[in-house]
């Protein structure tokens, strides 16, 4: 569908015709990726001054250049009159891929000894908030540590933008966006621009509260910032010994639980409309998942006492919210415990949060589709609408969620097959694929032992990268972007037309009549 572009984005003076929808979207995606790179590089350069400061100049120069290019592109673009939904989704996917590319460049810049594959994998796991590496970074290297943390935080913001400001307006599930002003309430996302503004406020506050929490339990300031970034973005890729302490783990549990909560819920809490929240089936399911998961985990890992409860809460919250902070096994794990964690990771947190996985709302929609199908078996001609939270889900939304599930499982199996073909054990390959597409870490063996994905061959790690990107983009936009990209390439290359032309025929396979002008 085509949507009118906001008047602020239109050119204020003459100077050329508007760009086509796809061209403008592509240019904006490049500008967004470069803008994020600017923020990341400049801040990392400044943070490096806290250490030896040897990378500061390079980071500031590269960051400045990226910012300049982003500004030039943003000014240069002539916005189209109407923009297509598919182009917005493609632009979003392209900007994530570009961002991973630029972060890879930054890693290579600050640590030239790193191989391209290592840098790309680290950039991928950071920007997609997938903590697959167990011990990623040297604690003394401030610039690299901040690049990892910052890339996760920006990746988290990207995920929130997609969930709150892009998909409800340009993708599926528009009927579930918080737009109603009924009863004098202030909605979270009445339009995309307001949604983005509210998003920054809520996410910024959540990150700040988490940071204060870490500082209060005695974590060093830089470590607290990095831990807060990794927690608020559900990234989980951080190397800090402070995370082993009980206080830091409890703060992380609360921080992760907040990060896995829908932004709409947090918004309503903020504007004082919390009374109806407890009736939200999705919130109930999320809390139930955290509590029941922790109890089951405690039972299956022979944990006991306050330490056992803390460890269970920490591990389960890290799994449900797809944060993936590493936690070592505290005893003999029953075979069901790693399966439970894998299940929780693939279920994921609330929709509209930073977390990955398939997410609870989509699971509820699938359950509703399943129930409706059972009813339809009994009453084949009945019209049975699917209601979610008092609203009727559009048939389009249902179809897209079902297709998303299909694509989720397909990408998972494909990734597992590729990884397994490279020689990994079947269980590890499946586990790695589930974690990659759910953007969660770390991978565990069947007895719960942590697997260091960083030590795997380069090919295997690169095979996991597409799944991480697809998972971070909530599957659907990634596939739409892939399809659009392939169509674009096909249209540009026009292989078939060239072939038929070279064979002396027109596209339709008919020879032109003698009098036809070419």
């Amino acid at each position: 569908m085509n949507r009118p572009v906001r008047s602020e984005l239109r050119p204020r003076s003459g100077g050329g015709a508007p760009w086509p929808s796809w061209a403008a979207a592509t240019a904006w995606s490049i500008a967004a990726a470069l803008g994020a790179t600017f923020l990341l590089a400049v801040t990392a350069g400044l943070v490096d001054l806290l250490g030896d400061g040897d990378d500061t100049t390079a980071l500031l120069v590269v960051g400045g250049a990226a910012g300049l290019m982003a500004a030039v592109i943003a000014v240069w673009v002539r916005p189209p009159d109407r923009i297509r939904d598919a182009d917005v989704l493609c632009a979003f996917a392209a900007s994530l891929v570009l961002f991973i590319g630029t972060v890879t460049g930054l890693f290579l810049l600050v640590d030239p000894a790193t191989s391209l594959v290592d840098a790309l994998f680290r950039a991928g796991t950071s920007a997609t908030t997938t903590a697959l590496e167990a011990n990623p970074v040297d604690p003394a290297d401030h610039a690299v540590r901040f690049l990892v943390g910052g890339a996760q935080w920006l990746g988290g913001i990207g995920a929130l933008l997609l969930a709150v400001a892009v998909l409800p307006f340009f993708g599926a599930g528009r009927e579930f966006a918080d737009r109603s002003r009924r009863g004098g309430r202030r909605p979270m996302a009445p339009d995309p621009a307001t949604a983005v503004r509210h998003l920054f406020v809520v996410h910024g506050l959540a990150s700040a509260f988490t940071l204060i929490g870490f500082l209060l339990v005695g974590v060093a300031p830089l470590d607290a910032v990095l831990l807060a970034m990794a927690t608020a973005s559900t990234g989980g890729l951080v190397s800090s010994p402070d995370l082993e302490s009980a206080g830091a783990q409890w703060v992380a549990v609360i921080g992760m639980a907040i990060a896995g909560t829908s932004l709409v819920v947090l918004w309503r809490l903020g504007v004082g409309r919390a009374r109806s929240l407890l009736r939200s089936a999705e919130l109930q399911a999320y809390l139930c998942l955290l509590i029941v998961g922790s109890i089951l985990f405690l039972l299956w890992t022979d944990g006991s006492g306050v330490d056992g409860i803390r460890r269970a809460a920490f591990t389960v919250t890290a799994a449900v919210t797809t944060t993936g902070f590493p936690s070592t096994p505290g005893g003999n794990w029953a075979p069901a415990a790693p399966v439970l964690l894998l299940g929780l990771v693939s279920i994921g947190p609330m929709t509209g949060s930073v977390g990955g996985g398939f997410q609870i709302l989509r699971h509820r929609i699938l359950a509703r589709v399943a129930t409706r199908e059972l009813l339809r078996q009994l009453h084949p001609r009945a019209v049975i609408p699917a209601r979610m939270g008092g609203r009727i889900a559009a048939e389009d939304t249902l179809a897209r969620v079902v297709v998303t599930q299909f694509l989720f499982v397909s990408v998972l199996f494909l990734t597992a097959a590729v990884v397994a073909s490279a020689g990994l054990e079947l269980a590890t390959a499946l586990g790695a694929a589930v974690h990659a597409i759910s953007t969660a870490g770390p991978v565990r063996t069947l007895d719960g032992t942590l697997v260091d994905v960083g030590s795997w061959p380069g090919g295997v790690r690169l095979a996991l990268l597409p799944a991480m990107v697809v998972g971070r983009l909530s599957v659907y936009p990634a596939i739409v972007a892939l399809g659009a990209g392939m169509t674009l390439i096909r249209d540009r290359v026009r292989f078939r037309r060239r072939l038929t032309t070279s064979l002396g025929r027109t596209t339709g396979g008919r020879r032109p009549s003698p009098g036809t002008a070419r």
Binding site: M1, R84, D85, A86, L89, A334, P335, A336, P338, V339, L340, L342, G343, S346, L366, A367, V369, A370, R372, E373, L374, R376, Q377, L378, H379, P380, A399, R400, V402, V403, Q405, F406, L407, V409, F413, A416, A417, A420, S421, A422, G423, L424, E425, L426, A427, A429, L430, G431, L446, I479, V480, G483, A484, T487
Partner: protein, 524 residues
């Protein structure tokens, strides 16, 4: 004489479920009687099989005479089909119980009962998973019990209810609904104007096909008893064998070749076979589902062969192992050609790559209208087309995009039905894996077992490979959970899940007056 005569104590009980169950049990009793005859050759298990025949036949006879077909609505159809399979499977365990087949010294009776039920359900649902092996080898059983196992699969292959419809014209229009609820796929192609004639056609082709396979296997070097026994489980794509090592016992290329062809035909739509016989012309290649089915098997074989060669196995051995195992899992037969643990045919000893490919084939299954289980090729094709259409609709929001199967357009209600089926299937796999894992099984064995049971495949991955016994791989509660999934999978999910709706409605209707009186009394 009309079967609807008056009973001495009043009218007959109007219940489609009881009527169909009664007739189905009579057929099961006939199967048991045939096994008793085979058992009489060496005298073992004759009493057990004879007693089981008598009990099953008696219950069937009583139900058939007491009940008459009644309601035609969908809930009654699901109840009839679901209950028939459940009762047939329960009473089908009698021969194992009475013969003490699983009563190994020191085993508690509850486990013996569970194992008997598991073997019976695995047989009727054509799954082919077995609790034989290890301390209780199949070879230690008499020919009667062995033939009975094979017959359960044969009866389950084309469907017990199809048999009932064949001989019960009184079911009238609900006959089509019954077959529809039982048959694998999205509906029944009528081969004749009368549904009972269609049922006769199906069973006729099935019986003829079984005989052909038996002759082929005999010609390839199997003994007559084994040839007949394996023909029964090949035509039904069941996978039970008379040997612990399954087909690996013979280690014969010609036997495997016959079985590969037979399994491929068993996994194809029987309507295609019927059309071929009636028109005297092979038309299988015109069917898009059949072409997709063969293409998938060919691609899977090629991929597994290449991966096995890459792992260092010789090309000939790789090709043989690959084609046999891909076909046996792709058609949901579940035979094994492993000559022992860790041999070339034992796919659990392969590297992860080929195992992953086989895991995909555990999900796919054969064609609709075949005896095979799994999701079915047609559903996958329609699912893929639907996904492609939904993605395209993003680029072209105003275009009217249709889902096509060959040259035909698939109706929207069917697309929705398939999408719903796949959602329920996926949820069952996830929930089943969690349950089986919670009962003490590792991830791969649990997931493999659940996918294999729901798709009626037989062997699974992990500890439940082609040379393993399910008694060793899973705990007793986990085996029961798998048995339930086998029945759900055999009836394509919905009839088993909805079989209690009709009884619930009946009880609800009968007790409504009582509840209203109680409520009024409370208010007073």
């Amino acid at each position: 004489m009309s079967p609807f005569r008056r009973l001495p104590f009043g009218d007959r009980w109007a219940s489609t479920t009881a009527s169909v169950v009664g007739m189905a049990l009579l057929f099961v009793a006939v199967g048991m009687a045939m096994a008793t005859l085979v058992a009489a050759v060496d005298g073992r298990d004759v009493v057990a099989l004879g007693t089981a025949t008598a009990v099953t036949g008696l219950i069937g006879l009583v139900l058939f005479h007491v009940a008459k077909p009644d309601s035609q609505d969908q809930a009654a159809v699901f109840s009839a089909v679901g209950t028939t399979w459940l009762v047939a499977s329960l009473l089908g365990a009698l021969p194992y119980l009475l013969a003490g087949t699983f009563a190994v010294a020191g085993r508690p009776w509850a486990i013996v009962l569970a194992d008997s039920l598991f073997e019976s359900i695995s047989g009727f649902s054509c799954t082919g998973s077995t609790v034989f092996g290890g301390h209780n080898p199949i070879e230690s059983q008499g020919p009667g019990i062995l033939m009975y196992r094979q017959l359960t699969q044969w009866a389950g292959g084309m469907g017990i209810v199809v048999l009932v419809v064949m001989v019960l014209p009184s079911l009238r229009s609900s006959g089509l609904g019954l077959i529809d609820a039982e048959a694998p796929g999205m509906g029944v192609d009528r081969l004749a104007p009368r549904i009972s004639t269609t049922a006769i056609w199906f069973w006729g082709i099935y019986a003829g096909f079984t005989m052909l396979v038996a002759v082929g296997l005999f010609g390839a070097g199997m003994g007559p008893f084994d040839a007949v026994a394996h023909a029964l489980s090949t035509a039904s794509t069941g996978g039970f064998s008379t040997k612990d090592a399954s087909i690996g016992h013979w280690d014969s290329l010609s036997i495997e070749a016959v079985l590969i062809v037979a399994m491929l035909l068993g996994g194809a739509n029987f309507t295609l076979h019927s059309r071929m016989l009636r028109r005297r012309r092979i038309g299988h290649h015109h069917d898009p589902e059949f072409r997709g089915y063969l293409a998938m098997i060919a691609m899977g074989t090629l991929l597994v062969t290449l991966l096995l060669v890459d792992d260092g196995m010789g090309l000939g051995r790789s090709l043989r192992s690959a084609i046999f195992n891909v076909v046996t899992l792709g058609t949901s037969s579940g035979f094994g050609n492993a000559t022992g643990e860790g041999s070339a045919g034992d796919f659990t000893s392969w590297s992860s790559g080929p195992q992953m490919v086989l895991l995909l084939f555990l999900v796919f299954g054969g064609c609709t209208g075949s005896t095979a289980g799994g999701v079915k090729v047609m559903r996958l094709r329609v699912g893929l087309s639907h996904a492609y259409r939904t993605l395209r609709s993003f680029r072209r929001p105003r275009a009217i995009l249709l889902v096509r199967q060959g040259r035909n357009t698939v109706p929207e209600h069917l697309v929705e039905r398939i999408a719903g089926f796949m959602v329920v299937y996926g949820l069952l796999v996830v929930v089943g894996t969690m349950v089986v894992a919670a009962l003490g099984t590792d991830l791969i064995t649990a997931a493999g077992g659940v996918i294999g049971s729901l798709g009626n495949m037989g062997p699974a991955l992990g500890d439940a490979g082609p040379t393993a016994s399910f008694a060793d791989a899973y705990s007793t509660p986990a085996r029961m959970a798998l048995a339930v999934l086998m029945l759900i999978g055999r009836l394509e999910i919905f009839p088993m899940l909805l079989m209690l709706v009709a009884p619930y409605r009946a009880v609800d209707g009968a007790t409504r007056g009582m509840r209203i009186r109680l409520r009024r009394g409370r208010h007073r």
